[in-house]
Symmetry: C2
Subunit: 345 residues, 2 copies
DNA sequence: CACGCCGTATGAAACATTTCAACGATCGTT
DNA sequence: AACGATCGTTGAAATGTTTCATACGGCGTG
């Protein structure tokens, strides 16, 4: 602070009249140093404005104090809620959380993973572009714990934390069927996204089990899971002549559902009377839509928290840790977008 | 990779039959090493699965490769858009971005800043809980560039990037007045948040300048800038007898506006016929609301990008860098929530 | 009184990299 | 043939911590 250079332990030691090691002890095992010298050292630190150099600490100690989360889509609030859950767990373990965003691009994901390896982070949580990503296996083999979030890891090579997307699709469509709908649109895509595939799969399963004709479950593909794509699907839907038009739609996530809702209302359809809508994720804005959105709730924060706990377990006792893939159970939250006689929120 | 330990430059050097320094050169100034040995070293790296240890690099080189953004409210998409802008600029400069979230709590902010100092990040972008934060001055004095985002720094001690919130409040209310409204609610709070203070201030200014009676600009305070608080304000608003009820509301941000919109529609008011609504920020969900929301647009990404550029400038030539506080000009985006005869989106 | 023990403090080694002065070899020039 | 210059490579020093074996001094015990 005095002469430009940031002070080091050495400066503190000199100023407090003790040795290097003692200063380190004050920071890392205060109980072994006598109260009087401890106090002297602490005063010196404060005076000099000493700030521990984390790089040096990490280099020597070999252990980093950060977790990382590589998220799939920064514009989807769902992932931020997951991140929030992770952060809570990280905070409890006194770790920092590094948040990256692949935005669905495998190349961005790769450069982020690369950097995280160089940083020697203590563990990596990731919602991968492609859950078979060979990088991940490689990273895990190197001894860095990896847990997959919101997807089930393949072959039990990692821990993963997810909700049962197939089940989610089932309860969504079952709910619509219970409301008497017999012609339903399922909207989502691209099918390269595993979550989409499984949610739609669940929808088809229950539809078949209910004995409804396959042709009355109409697939409206989208190019992405965004509000804009939801609107575009809404246009197509509203364009169908009324007598053949589905009376309900199940969207693969809430962003799509919100876009669809906006578009169809704009086109003059009444929701839910003429078109019932179910989304997926139950993000905060689902409840806040002008016609509050029925949605399949994922325990978003809980997902993140559980994932963080798994990664920490693996990090702290790598020996007798065994991978697990807990599946959370999604839950339907019925709101005005599907239920005609709803009480106000 | 072979025997557990991750390989170091030393291992690579031995395996390639060159010296330590040469390996380093291959990584940092490939042009000085002859193609043949370079290729040999690179092959050795690949074979061993070498991953450079960033801590050691940083310790020796003295320079870190990361920026950090401490955001104010992780549940507000606005800040994520800002972060996205920062990330883009960081990517161009080949830096990583560390994102933290203070959630409006000064104590969380402080622990994050502390950690960032220990990491010796190259620069800190922050939307502070309190822009006078003495920590920030201290950090800046230590030589770590700090730029304040979405607030104007006090006393020119830092760079800052913000929009003119007062102006934003003015154009919002001016727009309402142009639509013929003469009794308007302004909703927002707490006033400890600078952005809120200034937006409301702008509203009052223009109201007075237009010669409208102060009592007809009704202040509805809220405890936070959230959807839930928006709903609660909506309840209060809807509870006012129709003849005394404001015909329009200006909300200090979009989350409030969305909550207000939902609540008042639920209570049976027609928007915009019986109640016009203007928000602030123009987050993506504003356009996607069932009644698309008129809002004061901030150049969200641009804000982040500009901030990142300032911090980088200060980091790269600290000597003849001079602080600046660019103010962006907000822009009204009129949508259906204020304009009766709107075309569909 | 000798001994061992306990609570503290010490100093050197180690961590993985970058940097830099120095060195040897090759080659063109005089 | 001697001399510089150029090019590529080397080895050692330095970065700021933590860790660990060791030293020291005082005290209770046998």
């Amino acid at each position: 602070m005095v002469n430009g250079r940031t002070p080091s332990v050495k400066d503190v030691a000199r100023s407090a009249g003790v040795s290097l090691g003692t200063v380190s002890n004050v920071m890392n095992r205060p109980e072994v140093v006598s109260p009087s010298t401890r106090e002297r050292v602490e005063r010196a630190m404060a005076e000099l404005g000493f700030v521990r150099n984390e790089s040096a600490r990490q280099l020597r100690a070999g252990t980093s104090r950060t977790l990382a989360y590589v998220m799939l889509d920064g514009s989807n609030p769902f992932f931020h809620d997951v991140a929030q859950g992770i952060e809570l767990a990280a905070e409890e373990a006194d770790l920092s959380l590094f948040i990256c965003n692949s935005n669905g691009r495998a190349d961005r994901e790769e450069v982020h993973l690369d950097r995280l390896m160089q940083q020697r982070v203590q563990g990596i949580l990731i919602t991968p572009v492609n859950p078979e990503a060979p990088h991940l296996a490689e990273i895990s083999r190197r001894g860095i714990p990896v847990v997959i979030v919101d997807r089930v890891g393949v072959g039990g090579a990692f821990c993963s934390v997810a909700v049962d997307d197939v089940l989610g699709g089932r309860i969504a469509v079952e709910h619509l069927a219970e409301q008497g709908h017999t012609r339903v649109a399922v909207v989502g895509g691209p099918e390269s996204i595993g979550q989409v595939r499984e949610r739609l799969e669940g929808a088809r399963q229950i539809w078949a089990e209910l004995g409804l004709p396959p042709d009355d479950l109409i697939y409206l593909p989208t190019a992405a899971l965004t509000v804009a794509e939801g609107r575009s699907a809404g246009e197509r839907l509203a364009g169908i002549p009324a007598r053949r038009r589905p009376t309900a739609a199940f969207c693969a996530n809430d962003l799509l559902a919100l876009g669809l809702l906006q578009q169809t209302i704009g086109a003059g359809l009444r929701v839910p009377e003429e078109l019932a809508i179910v989304g997926f994720d139950d993000i905060e804005f689902a409840a806040a839509a002008a016609v509050p959105l029925t949605s399949v709730r994922q325990p978003r924060q809980e997902l993140g928290r559980a994932a963080a706990q798994l990664v920490l377990d693996e990090a702290t006792n790598p020996d007798h840790h065994h991978h697990q893939q807990p599946l959370f159970v999604p839950e339907l939250v019925a709101r005005a977008s599907t239920v005609v006689r709803s009480r106000a929120y």
